[in-house]
Structures are given as C-alpha cells and as structure tokens.
C-alpha cells in the first residue's frame, strides 16, 4: 500500500491517524468490542471451569470413598482368612508351644521386625503385638498387660498375644490369578476364662473351664489403608478344632 509522505514513519502518527487511515477510530472501537468478547468468553470459561472442577472434585472424593469401602470389605475377608489359616496349624500344633512363641507354617521371616507394605508404609510386627496386648505400640510391661480395661477386662487373665502367622496376603493364596494386595497376621492367646494362672499354657486339668480353648486374632493391613480385625474363640474337641465364637474387633 502506498502511503503519502505525511503518513510515513518519523511523522506524528497520532495526528496523522485519521488522514492516513480513515476509519481507524472505528476500527479501534471494533477492537474494543473484541475485548468485550474476550472478557465474556473468559467469564464463561472461568464459570465453566469452576463447575467442572466442582464436579471433578465430587467424583474424586466419591471414588476414594468407594475405594476405601471396597478395601475395607476386602480387608475384612483377609483378616478372617488369616485367622482361619492359623487354625490349620493349630489343629495339629502343640498349643503350649504356640502360646510360648512357636509360629505357624505361614510366615515370611522372623516373628519380629518391620515389613514394608504398599505405598512404602512400614509395619512393625512387634508394635502390632504390643498394641494388641496392652494398647501401647511401644511395648508392654507385665503390669500394663494385666491392667483391666474395656477391651481387656480380665485383669491378670488378660490375653498375652503371641504372633503366630504373618505374611503378604498374596502368599496366603499363591494360586490366585489376581494379585492380592495387603499384609496379614494372626496371633494366639490363652482363653481368659483359664484358672491356672499361666498365660503360656493351655489349661491342663479337667476342672479348668478354659481347657482346650484358645483365642485367635486375625488382622489385615490393606489393601490401601484399610485395617480390619477379627477374633475367633476355638475349642479343641478330640482331634478337630471347632470355632465357638466369631467377632469383629472395631477400634
């Protein structure tokens, strides 16, 4: 486009605007309209983004709640499974040995130390045993174990829990085609109705009401952060074991 000399660079462009480009002012106003459209679109986009963000947030929260519920149900079954797995060994085991610290055939190492769970969470088997015995994960003195509480009301007869079986849930079901997540453990303890005063021996005499009765706790850690615990009361009748009570322990 050929412009007159007055319109070329070096001149006062503001003063020459209408001369050089008739309609420039209108074009600028049209440009201002573009700005309004941009603003409108921005407002619409922001509002839409806010709506969508709220919906996504709702969905994410709902998905997590649903996953947590599903994991809780899976953990419950896993806790029940590991408790019943312990019965397989207890059916033939020397109960006094189990109450003295002998472990089941379902283990993944020594009955102490730390296990690494999914999400790099650490599980201390010693802390779990202490927590079960006296509610204190850092360890229990004899006095603490014998202290009566709502969860452990029997005082001197409170169960002295011994870790019995433990390992990854997947190891409990090695043939399962689906990889099972989580870790499971079981503990055994003498029945609190025992009258022999010895928590590491099953009642030996016929007049002991706790003779041939044992408590078994099964606990599952995971999937995810789910934790569930079940407790069985089992009785030895002849050569077979009979479950006489099943309960879920809730925190």
């Amino acid at each position: 486009m050929l412009l007159p000399p007055t319109c070329r660079s070096g001149v006062d462009m503001a003063a020459a605007r209408e001369t050089c480009w008739p309609g420039f002012g209108l074009a600028t106003r049209a440009g201002q309209s573009d700005g309004v459209a941009l603003l409108t679109m921005l407002v619409v986009l922001i509002a839409t983004a806010a709506f969508v963000a709220a919906l996504v947030l709702t969905s994410v929260v709902e998905t997590r709640i649903a996953a947590s519920w599903r994991d809780g149900a899976a953990a419950m079954s896993a806790a029940d499974a590991v408790a019943r797995r312990a019965l397989l060994d207890l059916a033939t085991a020397d109960w006094d040995a189990a109450l003295g610290g002998a472990v089941s055939t379902f283990t993944d190492g020594p009955p102490s130390g730390v296990r690494v769970l999914e999400g790099a969470m650490q599980l201390s088997l010693d802390a779990e045993t202490s927590e079960l015995a006296c509610g204190n994960p850092t360890g229990c003195s004899d006095a603490e174990v014998s202290r009566a509480s709502a969860e452990r009301p029997w005082g001197a007869n409170n169960p002295r829990w011994r870790l019995f079986g433990y390992g990854p849930l997947a190891a409990l079901f090695p043939d399962d085609p689906y990889p099972l997540r989580g870790y499971v453990a079981s503990w055994v303890a003498d029945d609190p109705t025992e009258t022999d005063g010895s928590p590491s021996h099953d009642g030996a005499t016929a007049d002991n009401p706790g003779r041939g009765v044992l408590l078994v706790t099964g606990r599952a850690y995971g999937p995810g952060v789910a934790r569930r615990t079940v407790q069985l009361v089992v009785e030895r009748v002849g050569t077979e074991l009979r479950i006489i009570a099943w309960r879920e322990l809730r925190p």
Partner: protein
C-alpha cells in the same frame, strides 16, 4: 483490516444499525446458549453431591446391617452353654424385641421390615446363676467365674448399674434385663423381672441387641433406625424408603449329638435347645415328658419335631408363614414364645431402597422414584437406589 473495509465501516451508518441488530441477535443467541449451558451445569452440580450423599447413606445402612448380622449369635465364654448363642436361642428374629414395644407382647411374630439381632460381646461381664430364678424375679444370685474382671466400687465381675444383659439357658429360654445394682453375689435387675424361670447354671452375660427397622419422624422423613433393646433408639440413615429382610435356613431339623443329656457340658444338639431326658418333664412348659419345642419322643427316642424342608444341605428359603406357625419355644401358651424355625436361620437377605433427600431432584413417581418429586429435567434426576445383599452370620453357621 483492509483500508476499503475500514472506510466502509466509517461511512455507512445504515449498515451499522443492521449490523447492530445482527450483532444483538447473535449476542442474544450466544447468551441464551451460554445460559442454557450454565443452567444444565448448575443442575448437574446440584445433583452430583446429592447422588454422592445417596451412595454414602447406602453404605452406612449396609454397614450397620452387616455389622449387626456379622455378630449375630456370638455367645459367652463361660458356662456349659459357651459358644454360639444361636445354638440355644433364636438370635435373628423378624420382629421387634426389647424392653420397649416388644412385638410378641402385642401378638406380632413377623414383620418383613424389622430385624432383631442378639449377640454377646467379648466381655468380662459373664457369669452363671448359682441359684435358680423364678418368673418375675428381680434378684439373681450369681456364681462368679475365676476370670471375672477386678471389682470396682459399682461393679462386680463387670456387672454394674445400667449393664444390659441376657439371661439364657440350654432349654432355649431367654430374657433381656438391665442391671440396677450388683453387690456380693447378687445382681438386682429392673422390673418387671424375668419372663421365664431358670435353673442354676443358666448364663447371665452382657448383651448387644440391634433392632433395625424403618420409622417416620415428625417431619415425615423415613429413617432406618436402631434400637438397642433397652432404652435408646436413634436414626442411622434418613430417606430410606423401604427395607425388607428374607431368611434362608437349615433344611434339616436339629439332631441329637452323642453328648448325653445329663452331661454338664454341651453342645447336646446340632442346633436348638436340648430336650430333657426322656423320662423327665420340664415343669416350665406344656410339652410332654422328654419333649421340647424341637424334639419329641417316638418309641422312647428323641426325634426331631421340626420338619425336613429339603433333603440336601443347601439353604432353603424360610417363608414368612414358616416363621410364625410354630412349633413355639418354650411352648405355644407362652406370650414370649418364638417360632422354633427361627433357630434354622443361617443367612439373611436385606433389600434397601433409598432416595435422594431433595424432592427437586426426584421425578414423577415411577419405577425410578418411589415418592415422586418436582424435577422435570434430566440433569436434576437422581433415581432411587436399591441394593440387595446377603449376610451369613458366622456364629450361626458353625458346623456347616
């Protein structure tokens, strides 16, 4: 923009008016469509949290029912009847039990939307009767087991004011009582006292009672509520429009086990109360000598009184008629009797239907909405949620 076009813009005033009109029309269409979009988004935004809330309320309701049923029939550690409570008394009942508005007292023996569950928690408050107790007794003389929790100023062996307890025996009698005080070997219970007479050796234990049912509050909101069998009843989940329970049970009648009936320690039967010796007549019921609600005498032997519902071991549906036609435990003349077929229950199916709280998110009454609402747009429709699930109480299934 070309110079020619700029010139036209600057000079054509009439065109500007048309363009303004066109622009206004386009703008109107744009705004209308944007507003329409916003309106739909708003509807979705309003419905989604309600949908999530509906899901969560469903989970809570399911969890409550599962929790109660999972523990159903858990029994005490002490006494000759230790083990499953469900072996001796019906622990899952299709009507309301408890100290307040007890259904059997008004002749009701079945409600499809009520579930009562009995269980004994793992507790130290467990003992046996040292002396027998008569009907209406309010004093119980107990024999404390060696495993009793240490006594405190108000409690003996874990029993203290307000303890909710069950008294039951191997004959299938049971009572719910509230302890008023405990001292020495005596426990005082609240009036009206015991409904049945008990012999020495009957178990007295802390108990958990869950009565789950539908109720409507003062605002007309339908709620799933839990009654603890004694004094407290509270809503668990709101806007539960319907709940129903179906029962599946043992097809085979109870059988005697090899344990002699005069043996102190049971169990004496595969399930159900143990009968008296063939020559002994229980003075507390109207059955002939040697018989009870689940066993009768034929040719001098105990044989099942209950029918064989199927020859296999697969659980069978226990229809409502079966659960209220007797035989009755302890006997038909007792106002607190329960149907002996309730002892068969091994699995319970619950059906729940919940709806969204706001009627603005419900459409016209239809298969999707039990109670109609005012919504007419798809974005603002949150259909009722119905869930069906089964629970097989572990404590009622031992030996299967």
């Amino acid at each position: 923009m070309s110079r020619r076009r700029l010139h036209r813009l600057a000079s054509s005033a009439g065109t500007t008016l048309i363009e303004a009109l066109v622009a206004a029309a386009i703008f109107t269409v744009l705004v209308a469509s944007v507003l329409g979009l916003v309106e739909r988004l708003q509807g979705t935004l309003q419905a989604e949290p309600e949908r999530a809330d509906l899901q969560q309320r469903t989970r809570v309701a399911v969890e409550q029912i599962q929790s109660a049923l999972n523990e159903a029939g858990a029994g005490p550690l002490v006494g000759a009847t230790r083990g499953s409570l469900g072996r001796y008394v019906a622990s899952v009942l299709p009507y309301r039990i408890g100290r307040l508005r007890n259904d059997p007292e008004s002749g009701v023996r079945y409600r499809p939307d009520v579930l009562s569950v009995l269980s004994v928690p793992l507790t130290g408050a467990q003992a046996v009767l040292r002396d027998g107790a008569a009907v209406d007794a309010t004093f119980l003389t107990l024999e404390w087991p060696a495993s009793c929790p240490p006594p405190s100023s108000a409690t003996v062996c874990g029993f203290g004011p307000g303890t909710s307890a069950v008294v039951f025996d191997r004959r299938g009698r049971w009572d719910l009582v509230t302890v008023e005080s405990a001292a020495g070997s005596t426990v005082t219970i609240d009036a009206p006292g015991l409904r049945f007479a008990y012999s020495p050796g009957a178990v007295v234990s802390e108990v958990r009672v869950d009565v789950l049912s539908l109720r409507v509050d003062a605002q007309g909101i339908s709620q799933l509520s839990r009654y603890d069998g004694f004094v407290a009843e509270f809503p668990i989940v709101e806007h539960v429009e319907s709940v129903s329970f179906e029962y599946f049970g043992e097809p085979l009648p109870p059988q005697r086990l090899g344990v002699p009936l005069d043996n102190t320690w049971g169990p004496w039967t595969t399930y159900g109360p143990s009968p008296p010796l063939a020559v002994v007549d229980d003075p507390d019921d109207t059955w002939p000598a040697g018989e009870n609600c689940v066993f009768q005498i034929a040719a001098g032997e105990h044989v099942p009184r209950l029918a064989t519902l199927s020859t296999g071991r697969v659980l069978v549906t226990l229809d409502p008629a079966t659960l209220r036609d007797g035989p009755w435990c302890p006997d038909a003349g007792n106002p607190h009797a329960y149907d002996a077929d309730l002892l068969r229950v091994r699995r319970v199916r619950a059906t729940l239907r919940l709806q969204v709280a706001s009627s603005a998110l419900r459409g016209a009454a239809s298969a999707f909405f039990l109670r109609g609402g005012s919504s007419t747009t798809a974005e603002r429709l949150v259909p009722d949620q119905e869930i069906v699930f089964d629970v097989a109480p572990a404590n009622l299934s031992f030996g299967r």
